[in-house]
Each structure stands twice: as structure tokens, then as C-alpha cells.
């Protein structure tokens, strides 16, 4: 892959150099009589043709990118609303591609077709209200459609109704790690504040108020487990600076803001095990492991440790600049069947047990 990319770049550089020398030659031809530094017919001719070539370049880089890297785009959505999200995304994309293809073609084709000649005269064409009207109204209609569809989806995603069925989970951010808190048997999170963090010799790692009975059965963990098919309502807090809880596979993101509780909700639809079997994911993991294997060979040759083989897991990343180790602020997410989830949760200790 790297070799292919390098070759492509070298070819492009070669073409660029070739064009440069060509430009230089052409300029040398005209030099004796014309050194005005204003484009003459020869310049116009060459530059106009290059403009057309540039259109081809834009199309080629688009096609090449999709061919080479199309597989990294939006991994399969693993949440209920993620499917709606993806549909809206692909509709917007289709529209963008259509407009991009046409407008770039017009722009560069005109630049080529109407390249200047000494004796030609341009058309004096200053205004046309009907044309202006057409290209005002078409975007208006298209965008109205997109706005309505977008807002409908947005309202569905962000309208978080607290129902009894939903699982309440707190995501707690700090420089540079994540913790999660489950609400326990009562499904109500106990009050919390950074002022309680120093209680119980630092055992109260996310500052739960010990005098709030709702908090005693809360469970604090370092790894996020979610039951498949059940709505999860996330309450997010941060103890120091802004962080952002980003879960790309679930099309979910919300900032964590010190001094305030933010919310996001989604329903996971695919368990971790199922996702690992997904053919696209299998291919991706294979590709990654091939890369890691190659890198390991190099490391071993240098007397360093080999990289561990990669296995897919859902991710929670920090996506708001938060300091030196921002790049490594992550938590593993495991989506599993409800019974496995319950079994795992039962093994964790409650806040009351922790502070005893």
C-alpha cells in the first residue's frame, strides 16, 4: 500500500515537474519579444489546457480516494438512530457529489474553453434576473428539504425521554481517563460533586455524595458495558477541563463540561461479538493486523517489543482538546446480551462496598 502511494506521489510530482519544464520552455520561446509579465496568447493557451487537466486531476483524486480509502468511511452504525444518521449522511453526500461534479466541470471547462486570444472579444453580459432567480430558488428548495429532514432526525435523537426501561449511565471525564457509573438497583444516580472527591481517602473516585441514599448502590467502573437493544441514557460530567465523549460507532458525541451535566442517549443494536464477525470489520481487522505485523518486524529488528495483535472493540474517545495526553484518553465499550451484562454488573462492587 505504502509503495503504491509513494509511486502515485512520485508520478504526480513527475507530472508537475514535466509541466514546469514545459512552461519554462514555452516562456523561453516568447522571451525575446515579450517580457511584459502579462499573459500572452501562448500563456493563455497552455494555462487554459492545464485548467482542463486540473479538472481531470480533481476527478481522479476523488475516484482514487474512494477506491483506496472508501473502506474507512463511516463504519457500520451500531445504534438505532445511527441508521437514520447514515441515511441522512449519504443523501447529503450524494447531493454534494452531484453539485461538486457539475460546478467544477463548468468552472474548469469555461477556463479552458474561453482562454484568451488577442483578437477575440468577450461577450458583454452583465445581468440576468431570471438566472439569478433560478440559482437562488434551487438551493432554497434543496436546503429546505435537507433542513427539514435534518431537524426531524435531530429532534428524534436529542429528545431524551426518561423512561423506566432505560439504563442510566454516568460518563465521568478527567485528565486523562474515563470512568462510568451505573445507577444500581434503584436506577437513580446519587448526587455527586467534585467537593466529595477527597472523602474516604480518595476511594470516592468520582465524588459521590455519601449522604444521598440513591448513591450507595451506584457502581463505578473503568470499562463500559452496555446491554444490546436497551436504551442507554448517558449523563456526562467532567471534573477538570472540557472533554468530549465520542463514540463513533454509535454516531454519538457530547461534550463533558465542568459544573454541568450533559446528556446523550442511544440504543445499541449490535453486540461486540456480532460486530467482530461483521465481514467488513473482519477485513478491516485483518488489514490492521497485517500493518501491525509489518511494523512489528521492524520493531523486533531494532530489538524492541512487537505490537500486540488487534481485536475489534467499540471505543469511547476524548474529542475535545484536554491536555498533553488527550490523544490517549479512551475507554473500551462492550456491548453484550442483557443476561451477560447483568452478570458482569453483579460482579462489580457498589459505592457502599467500596467505601466500607
Amino acid at each position: 500500500m505504502t509503495a503504491l502511494l509513494t509511486i502515485t506521489v512520485l508520478v504526480l510530482v513527475g507530472i508537475a515537474l514535466w509541466q514546469i519544464t514545459k512552461i519554462f520552455e514555452v516562456s523561453q520561446l516568447g522571451r525575446k519579444k515579450d517580457d511584459s509579465q502579462v499573459a500572452n496568447d501562448k500563456d493563455n493557451d497552455l494555462q487554459g489546457k492545464l485548467m482542463f487537466a486540473f479538472l481531470v486531476f480533481i476527478y481522479l483524486i476523488t475516484i482514487y480516494s474512494f477506491w483506496a480509502w472508501g473502506d474507512v468511511l463511516l463504519p457500520e452504525a451500531a445504534s438505532e438512530h445511527g441508521v437514520d444518521y447514515d441515511r441522512l449522511m449519504w443523501i447529503s453526500f450524494a447531493l454534494i457529489f452531484f453539485v461538486q461534479t457539475i460546478t467544477q466541470a463548468l468552472l474548469h471547462y469555461f477556463s479552458y474553453k474561453y482562454r484568451g486570444e488577442k483578437d477575440k472579444k468577450a461577450l458583454f453580459y452583465a445581468d440576468n434576473d431570471r438566472l439569478e432567480f433560478i440559482w437562488t430558488i434551487i438551493p432554497v428548495i434543496t436546503l429546505a428539504g435537507l433542513i427539514l429532514y435534518g431537524l426531524y432526525t435531530w429532534t428524534n435523537i436529542m429528545n431524551i425521554e426518561e423512561d423506566d426501561e432505560a439504563l442510566i449511565v454516568e460518563l465521568y471525564a478527567q485528565q486523562f481517563n474515563w470512568k462510568a457509573r451505573y445507577a444500581g438497583a434503584d436506577n437513580v444516580l446519587g448526587d455527586a460533586n467534585v467537593r466529595f472527591l477527597q472523602d474516604f481517602d480518595g476511594l470516592n473516585v468520582i465524588g459521590i455524595d455519601a449522604s444521598d441514599p440513591n448513591g450507595l448502590d451506584d457502581i463505578v467502573v473503568q470499562e463500559l458495558h452496555l446491554p444490546v437493544g436497551r436504551k442507554v441514557i448517558f449523563k456526562m460530567r467532567s471534573q477538570d477541563v472540557l472533554h468530549s465523549a465520542y463514540m463513533p460507532h454509535f454516531r454519538a458525541q457530547m461534550n463533558c463540561v465542568p459544573g454541568m451535566i450533559t446528556e446523550f442517549a442511544f440504543t445499541p443494536t449490535i453486540t461486540t461479538d456480532e460486530m467482530r464477525m461483521n465481514p467488513d470489520m473482519v477485513a478491516k481487522v485483518e488489514k490492521i493486523n497485517k500493518i501491525r505485523y509489518e511494523n512489528s518486524q521492524e520493531l523486533i529488528a531494532n530489538g524492541e517489543e512487537a505490537l500486540e495483535p488487534y481485536q475489534f472493540d467499540y471505543l469511547l474517545l476524548c474529542n475535545k482538546i484536554c491536555g498533553a495526553s488527550h490523544y490517549n484518553m479512551q475507554m473500551k465499550i462492550i456491548v453484550e446480551e442483557e443476561k451477560d451484562f447483568n452478570k458482569w454488573l453483579a460482579e462489580q462492587s457498589t459505592f457502599a462496598e467500596t467505601i466500607q
Partner: protein, 587 residues
């Protein structure tokens, strides 16, 4: 007032340093902007090296970054500092002051037919405040704890707490001081531009006869005056939170084993204040570039700009809408989702005037007689990147779609194309086009062509692939992506991007060489090399105080009488009276 100006005796200091002449001030802005641009672009190349070959030792790191790159391996804090200062310098110092400062100063008096700015003194103060803020920003690079490193948006609490990162110490203080001075400079400049355009137009230069450059600079200045004070207030409140213990933006914080006293503030408030400037800032950067493009396209297409009235209307619409869309940077900040809906609506509306502008540019080329000078190429390039980058705005402006691409490389690709590269192309187009006016000499066109083509190819080479890694979910501002094996398959793409970036950086050296060489040894220019209609080309090549010897020319027509039927030449300058029976276009 200006008429007696050229009787003053000039010393070296009043002519070249504390000059009150708009033409000299414009050159000062340009050169300061270029120097800052070199710093900003060099920084981007450094962090691109780190992103392509993470944690690899580079000799260049060791020599440039010293103790911040032990054994040549870049430190994560330095990485963050580099992206922060790169953003700050490029947005404010290069594309605001360097672009708008240079060309507003040069062109407003010359194109409206004025002897100088309304206040030459304020104009001089404006430049020197800009210079001072640049100096403070550069000094901040050399402090012990490093420069600001909280991202160019410097969101608190990260930027407010020295405990949170080394860059939030003295470096951050200097950043805030520098920006406060910068804002003062920008406000003085903007007020001057507004007053000059309103009051000092020559006889016959009605608002509807103004070249689109002037419309763009005028409206840009208004946006600046409306929005920059809000950033100043944000900066002042942040200074208070940092230094005087107030809690405007801070609440409930525990850091480095200590509970801080802050209570009741909100970082979201800062985000609102910042983006109330931050979004209009995009148009403060872009509108002058679009104005320059309108002028350069029409002149070199030998055609009137298509839809003059629609162009003015779209500038005004963009200006108005730009002040009510800031919330689209905050869809997932924790603000009420209903606000998100409102901002989605206003944001997508802004696509309409933008589309009108793009279509008008394309139609201006149609059936033209295109003189493909370097300035023209950059203007066409601007339209191309403006479209490519603008279209992805439809995705980011949609609150729903923003959820998953917010703060990823998709955003980086979008804004670099639509405002970074586009505005940079506008700057280059302006320099190639008005270099003869500024320095009395021509830039070498062949070097200009090389500069354009290498830059154009690399701009797409750098930013097009970024859409892909963004859609894959890769966050921006990560020092390295190696902490996530999931992103290992993106490593190749990052190498490609960096290679293109390095070539693009090298191409700018061609421009610098051309610029400096031509300043002294370039071919001497004729008075009106591009055969343009606007007033600046009626002024003598040699700069004189007051711009015109004798009377200021009177204006009799609009700025776009190119290839008008029945005329001998393919352009009729604005100061030429209408011939008998000739009709002025109704616009």
C-alpha cells in the same frame, strides 16, 4: 486635507516606519503578514511530520524546538502548542490583518478616489498595534513553559488553569494580551475603512458604482466592528478568571489533587462569546478574498462581473447571516438542542448567498476572453476550493450530521479548504494583481504559474484525503494516532498528506523568491498593466502623497465596462465620461 499633504518634508522614519500614507501602511501590513505566514506554515509542516511519522526523531525538531523535543522526538505539549499557534497566526495575523489590512489599506482610497484614509494617524496606530501584537505573539513562543496550547479557540477551563497544561501559564497570558492588542488594532482599522468609504468617495462614485472589492472590504469592516468587541470581552473575562479569581467560565473543578474555589461559571458562556466573533471571523477572512476575486475575474475575463447587484446583495446577506450562525460550532457543547435546531436553520441559509456567488463567478467566465495571468489562476482556484470546501459545510452545518464528524479531520478538511486555502488564494491573487501598484514592478509570471500549479495540486492532495480520515472517526488535535490500533489503517493516508504538505511548503519558497526578487529587480510596470477600469490604475506608478497629481478623477460609470459593445478598447475606465448616446448599464 490631503491636498497639502505632499508639501510635508519626509524623513526616513516618517516615510518608511511611522508612515501615515495608506500605501506604505498597506506594504507594512503585507510584509508583516507574510513573515507571520512563514512562521505559521512552518509550524504546520513540523506537526505534519509528527503526524506522518509519530514519535520518530527528526533533526529539525531538535534544532528548532530544542528542549521541547528531547532527542529529536516532539513532546505532546509542543504538538498542541504548534497547532494552537498555527491556527491563531493563520486566522488572525495572516488572513485577517495580512489580507484585509493590506488590501483595504491599498485599495479603499485608490479605488474610491480619495487622497488617503479618513485618519492617517489612526491608520498608523492600527498598523503599529498589529505589529506589537505580532511581536507579543512571537515572544510567547520563547517563554519557559511554552506558548498557548489549548487550541486556537482557547476554551476554558483548559486555557484558564495553569495546572491543566504547561501552555496555560505565561504563554496563555501573552496570547491573551496579544489578542487584546490585535483586536484594538483591528477595530481602529475597521472604523477607518468604514468612515473612508462612506465619506471620501470621489464625485460620481455612488455606492452602486463601487467596485466589489470595496463593497467586500466595507462590509468586512462592519462585521469586524460588530463582532471583535465580543471576543475582547471574552478575553478580558478569561484574564479575570485566570488572574483575579473570578468565576465567569469556571465551576466545580478538581485538578492536581485540589478542589478549586470556582463556582457558578460556565465554559459554554465562553464558547458563545468566542464564536460570536469566531464565526463572523470566517467571513472577515473570506469576504475580502471574494472581493479581490470578483475584481480579478472580471478584469482578466474582460467581461463585467455577472450579476453585480446579486453580488452586493449576497455580500450583505452573508454578513447579516454570519452574525447569527455561531451556534453551529456548539451543537454538542451541551447547549439546549432546540438552539441547535435554530442554528442549523440559519447556517444552511448561508449556503444560498454563497451558491449565488459561485454561480455568478462561473457565469462571469462564460464567453469571456480569459487572460490567464497568475492572479486569474488563483482566483479560479479560489472558486474551486470555495465550492469543494463550502459543500461539506452542508454536512457540518446540519446538527444531526455534526454529531459524528464534529472535531474530526472532516472539519479540518472543510475549513481549510473553504476559508484557509480560499482566503490564501485570495491573498495571492491580490498580491499578483496589485504588486505593480504596490511596488511599481511586475512579478515574474512563470514563477507565478509554477507557484499556482504546485500549490493547487498539493492543496487538494493535503485536504481531500482528510475528509476520509475524518469520516473514519479520527479526532483532530491528537498528538499521535498510535494509541488506537483501530486507526492503524489510516497511517498511510497521513503520510500522503504530509508529503503533499511538504511540497506545498516548498512551493511557497518560489513565491517568496519571486516576491523579494521582483521588488528590487522585477520588470518596471506600465501604469495599467492589466488594462483595468478601476481608479487605482489612473494614479501614477510612482507613489505620491495624495495619490493623484492635480484633481482627483471624477467617476462617470460603474467599474465593469469590459468589452462593452460600441467601444474601441475592451475596457472603459471609470473616469471616462459616457460617450454621446452611450447608456450606463442599469444596476
Amino acid at each position: 486635507m490631503g491636498a497639502d499633504a505632499h508639501h510635508h518634508k519626509e524623513t526616513f522614519i516618517t516615510k518608511y516606519i511611522f508612515s501615515q500614507d495608506h500605501k506604505m501602511i498597506s506594504k507594512q501590513y503585507l510584509i508583516t503578514g507574510l513573515v507571520m505566514g512563514i512562521v505559521g506554515i512552518a509550524m504546520s509542516l513540523l506537526f505534519r511530520l509528527q503526524l506522518a511519522w509519530p514519535e520518530q526523531p527528526f533533526g529539525v525538531f531538535e534544532s528548532l524546538l530544542g528542549k521541547w523535543a528531547p532527542d529529536g522526538v516532539m513532546d505532546p505539549n509542543v504538538y498542541l502548542a504548534l497547532v494552537t499557534i498555527h491556527g491563531t497566526i493563520m486566522v488572525f495575523f495572516v488572513l485577517t490583518a495580512g489580507l484585509s489590512g493590506t488590501f483595504s489599506n491599498l485599495l479603499i482610497p485608490l479605488q474610491i478616489g480619495a487622497r488617503d484614509m479618513a485618519s492617517g494617524f489612526l491608520n498608523m496606530v492600527s498598523y503599529w498595534l498589529f505589529f506589537l501584537s505580532s511581536v507579543v505573539m512571537v515572544i510567547s513562543l520563547f517563554v519557559e513553559s511554552g506558548p498557548a496550547a489549548a487550541g486556537w479557540t482557547v476554551y476554558p477551563p483548559l486555557s484558564a488553569l495553569p495546572q491543566a497544561q504547561p501552555g496555560s501559564g505565561l504563554g496563555m497570558t501573552l496570547w491573551l494580551v496579544s489578542m487584546a492588542i490585535f483586536i484594538a488594532s483591528s477595530l481602529l482599522g475597521s472604523l477607518n475603512y468604514i468612515v473612508t468609504v462612506i465619506n471620501l468617495r470621489t464625485k460620481g462614485m455612488s455606492m452602486t458604482r463601487l467596485p466589489l472589492t470595496i463593497w467586500a472590504f466595507f462590509v468586512t469592516a462592519i462585521i469586524g466592528v460588530v463582532s471583535f468587541p465580543v471576543l475582547l470581552s471574552a478575553a478580558l473575562l478569561l484574564i479575570m478568571d485566570r488572574s483575579f479569581g473570578t468565576s465567569f467560565f469556571l465551576s466545580d473543578i478538581f485538578i492536581q489533587g485540589e478542589v478549586l474555589h470556582f463556582q457558578g461559571g460556565s465554559p459554554v458562556l465562553y464558547e458563545h462569546l468566542f464564536w460570536f466573533l469566531g464565526h463572523p471571523e470566517v467571513y472577515i477572512v473570506l469576504l475580502p478574498a471574494l472581493g479581490i476575486t470578483s475584481e480579478v475575474l472580471a478584469t482578466n475575463a474582460r467581461k463585467p462581473i455577472f450579476g453585480y447587484r446579486a453580488m452586493v446583495a449576497s455580500i450583505l446577506a452573508i454578513a447579516f447571516l454570519s452574525t447569527i450562525v455561531w451556534g453551529h460550532h456548539m451543537f454538542i457543547s451541551g447547549m439546549n438542542p432546540f438552539l441547535g435546531s435554530v442554528f442549523t436553520f440559519t447556517t444552511l441559509l448561508i449556503a444560498i448567498p454563497s451558491a449565488v456567488k459561485a454561480f455568478n463567478y462561473i457565469t462571469t467566465l462564460w464567453k469571456g476572453n480569459l487572460q490567464l495571468n497568475p492572479a486569474m489562476l488563483f482566483s479560479i482556484g479560489l472558486v474551486s476550493t470555495f465550492i469543494t470546501g463550502g459543500l461539506t459545510g452542508i454536512i457540518l452545518g446540519d446538527s444531526t450530521l455534526d454529531i459524528n464528524v464534529h472535531d474530526t479531520y472532516f472539519v479540518v478538511a472543510h475549513f481549510h479548504l473553504v476559508m484557509g486555502i480560499s482566503a490564501l488564494y485570495g491573498l495571492f491573487a491580490g498580491v499578483y494583481h496589485w504588486f505593480p501598484k504596490m511596488f511599481g514592478r511586475m512579478l515574474n509570471k512563470n514563477l507565478g504559474y509554477i507557484h499556482f500549479w504546485v500549490t493547487a495540486i498539493c492543496a487538494y492532495g493535503v485536504f481531500f484525503p482528510m475528509h476520509f480520515i475524518g469520516m473514519a472517526g479520527l479526532p483532530r488535535r491528537y498528538y499521535t494516532n498510535t494509541a488506537f490500533p483501530y486507526f492503524d489503517d489510516l497511517a498511510d493516508i497521513n503520510v500522503v498528506i504530509t508529503i503533499f504538505a511538504l511540497i506545498a511548503g516548498a512551493a511557497q519558497l518560489v513565491f517568496l523568491y519571486n516576491f523579494i526578487h521582483s521588488m528590487f529587480y522585477g520588470k518596471k510596470t506600465e501604469q495599467n498593466p492589466w488594462r483595468s477600469t478601476t481608479l487605482e490604475w489612473t494614479a501614477p506608478v510612482k507613489h505620491i502623497h495624495g495619490n493623484w497629481e492635480g484633481d482627483i478623477p471624477e467617476v462617470h460609470r460603474w467599474a465593469y465596462d469590459y468589452s462593452k459593445p460600441g467601444q474601441k478598447e475592451d475596457f472603459v475606465p471609470q473616469h471616462i465620461p459616457l460617450a454621446k448616446g452611450e447608456e450606463e448599464l442599469q444596476h
